[in-house]
C-alpha cells in the first residue's frame, strides 16, 4: 500500500461539516501545507480540535480567518484575535479546555477509554456540565473522549511505512492525534526508506498513518 500522496488527493478526505484535529502549539508542529489544502478544498463548517488557534496567518489560524470553522475545541485562543472577534460576534463557537485535559481527552479517544478523572478544573467554570466523582476522598471531573474524522499531523521524518519521528517541541499533540481519528494524514520534511528508522526511535508507528505528504508536495 503506497501511503505517499499529493496535496490534491488530500482534498478527497475533506468534507463540509467534518471534525478535524491538527497538531501544533502556536503553529509549531502544525502541518502548514495540509492546512492550506483545506483552504484550497473550500470545505467549511469544520469542527476544529487543536491546542490553540495560533495566529491570524499561520498555524491553524487561517482556517479561522477564512471562516471555515464552525466550532473550535482548544485550550487557548489568545494569540489569534480573529478567534475572539468571531466568538463575540457569534460566528464561531469556542469550547475552552484545560491543556492537560485536552491531551487526556484526545488520548482517551484514541486509546478506547470512556474517559478519565482529572482534578484539573474542579471548582472552576471548567466543571460546568460535567459529572463529578469522588475517588478516595478527592473530587475529580469526568472528562470524555474526543475523536475526529481526520487528523492532520506534522512530523520531521517518515519512512514509507509511515513510521514517524518528530523534532524538538514540534512533537506536542501530534503523537496523540495519530490514534484519535478515522483518517490520519501526516506532512513530513523528510522521507526515508523502510528500515532506515531504528525501531526504538519510532515515535508513532506506521500502522496509524494513512497518508503521507512530503513538504513541497513531492510524490515518490
Amino acid at each position: 500500500m503506497n501511503k505517499i500522496t499529493s496535496l490534491e488527493e488530500v482534498s478527497s478526505f475533506l468534507k463540509d461539516g467534518m471534525t478535524i484535529m491538527a497538531g501544533g502549539f502556536m503553529g509549531v508542529g502544525t502541518p502548514q501545507e495540509l492546512i492550506s489544502a483545506i483552504l484550497k478544498a473550500d470545505v467549511k463548517n469544520i469542527t476544529l480540535i487543536a491546542n490553540d488557534t495560533a495566529f491570524v496567518e499561520t498555524g491553524v489560524g487561517p482556517l479561522i480567518t477564512n471562516k471555515r470553522v464552525k466550532k473550535v475545541i482548544a485550550s487557548h485562543i489568545g494569540t489569534n484575535p480573529e478567534t475572539g472577534r468571531q466568538m463575540i460576534a457569534g460566528e464561531v463557537e469556542v469550547e475552552l479546555v484545560p491543556q492537560g485535559t485536552l491531551a487526556e481527552r484526545v488520548r482517551a479517544g484514541g486509546a478506547g477509554l470512556g474517559g478519565v478523572l482529572t482534578p484539573t478544573g474542579v471548582g472552576t467554570v471548567a466543571e460546568e456540565g460535567k459529572e463529578k466523582l469522588m475517588v478516595d476522598g478527592r473530587e475529580y471531573l469526568l472528562e470524555k473522549p474526543l475523536r475526529a474524522e481526520v487528523a492532520l499531523l506534522k512530523a520531521y521524518k517518515a519512512d514509507k511505512a509511515g513510521n514517524l519521528v518528530y523534532h524538538r517541541s514540534a512533537r506536542n499533540f501530534n503523537p496523540l492525534m495519530a490514534l484519535a481519528a478515522d483518517t490520519v494524514i501526516v506532512q513530513v520534511e523528510q522521507l526515508v526508506e523502510i528500515g532506515e528508522i531504528d525501531p526504538d526511535e519510532v515515535m508513532t508507528p506506521g500502522i496509524l498513518i494513512d497518508k503521507i505528504i512530503v513538504n513541497g508536495g513531492y510524490v515518490s
Partner: protein
C-alpha cells in the same frame, strides 16, 4: 550577573527567586515569571519545564530552531541534559506532582488561596492554556503579581470575583509590597518588601490577613 532591581516587577521576580531551591523543577508562566531565573542566587540552578513538551528550557543561544519555542511560542533553547516529549507526557508531569514549583501571574487571589488569572468576562478570554493543570498539579504554586490593578484596586481580595483558575491552590503570593502565605486559617503576612510599611500593605489589601509573629514590624 544579577540585574539591578529598579522596578516593581523586578522586586517581585527577585523575591520569588529566593523561594527556589537548587535542583527544583519549575514551570514559569509567561510575562513576569519568566524574569525569575535572572535573579537566582549563585549556586542555585533550577530545571525549567515548558508545557509545550520539554524539560530544560533555556535561553536562545546561537541560531533559532523554529521547532524550539517556549510556552509563549517564542524562540527558545534547551540546556544540556534536557528532553523533549509530547503534550500528554508534559501534563502527566504537571498534574502528577512532578513539578516542584510553578510561578504564575495573577489577576486576583483571595484569602482561601483561590486564583483568577485566565479571563475577564466580556473583555478578554484567551483560554486557560495549561494554567488550570499547573495550579492543580504543581507541588507549590507561587503567584507573582503587582499588588494592585492599574486603577489602584487591590488584587489580594477577600473573595475572587473573576472566574477561577483554581480553587484553594495558591501557596504563596509575592507582590512588590509584601509576601503572603496561604494557610488553612487564611492569609499570613510573612514579609514586607524593603522600604514598605505595614500601613501601606493594609491599605492596599482588601483581604484580611494575620501577621506572622516572627515578622519584625519597625
Amino acid at each position: 550577573m544579577t540585574p539591578t532591581i529598579i522596578n516593581p516587577k523586578q522586586i517581585i521576580a527577585a523575591r520569588v527567586a529566593r523561594e527556589l531551591k537548587d535542583g527544583n523543577v519549575v514551570n514559569l508562566g509567561i510575562g513576569l515569571p519568566t524574569m525569575v531565573p535572572h535573579f537566582l542566587p549563585e549556586g542555585v540552578n533550577v530545571i525549567l519545564q515548558s508545557e509545550n513538551g520539554y524539560i530544560g528550557l533555556g535561553p536562545l543561544e546561537g541560531e533559532v530552531d523554529p521547532d524550539i519555542v517556549n510556552a509563549g511560542g517564542q524562540p527558545a533553547g534547551i540546556v544540556s541534559g534536557g528532553a523533549f516529549f509530547d503534550s500528554l507526557f508534559s501534563f502527566e508531569l504537571i498534574r502528577g506532582g512532578h513539578i516542584d514549583v510553578t510561578v504564575l501571574g495573577g489577576l486576583e487571589v483571595d484569602e482561601e488561596g483561590n486564583l483568577a488569572n485566565w479571563m475577564v468576562p466580556g473583555k478578554m478570554v484567551p483560554g486557560m492554556g495549561g494554567a488550570m493543570d499547573l495550579v492543580t498539579g504543581a507541588k507549590k504554586v507561587i503567584i507573582a503579581m503587582e499588588h494592585t490593578a492599574k486603577n489602584g484596586s487591590s488584587k489580594v481580595l477577600k473573595k475572587c470575583r473573576l472566574p477561577l483558575t483554581g480553587k484553594g491552590v495558591v501557596d504563596l503570593i509575592v507582590t512588590e509590597l509584601a509576601v503572603f502565605r496561604v494557610t488553612e486559617a487564611g492569609l499570613l503576612l510573612e514579609e514586607l518588601q524593603e522600604g514598605v510599611d505595614l500601613e501601606t500593605v493594609q491599605e492596599k489589601t482588601e483581604a484580611s490577613f494575620r501577621i506572622n509573629p516572627k515578622l519584625q514590624i519597625s
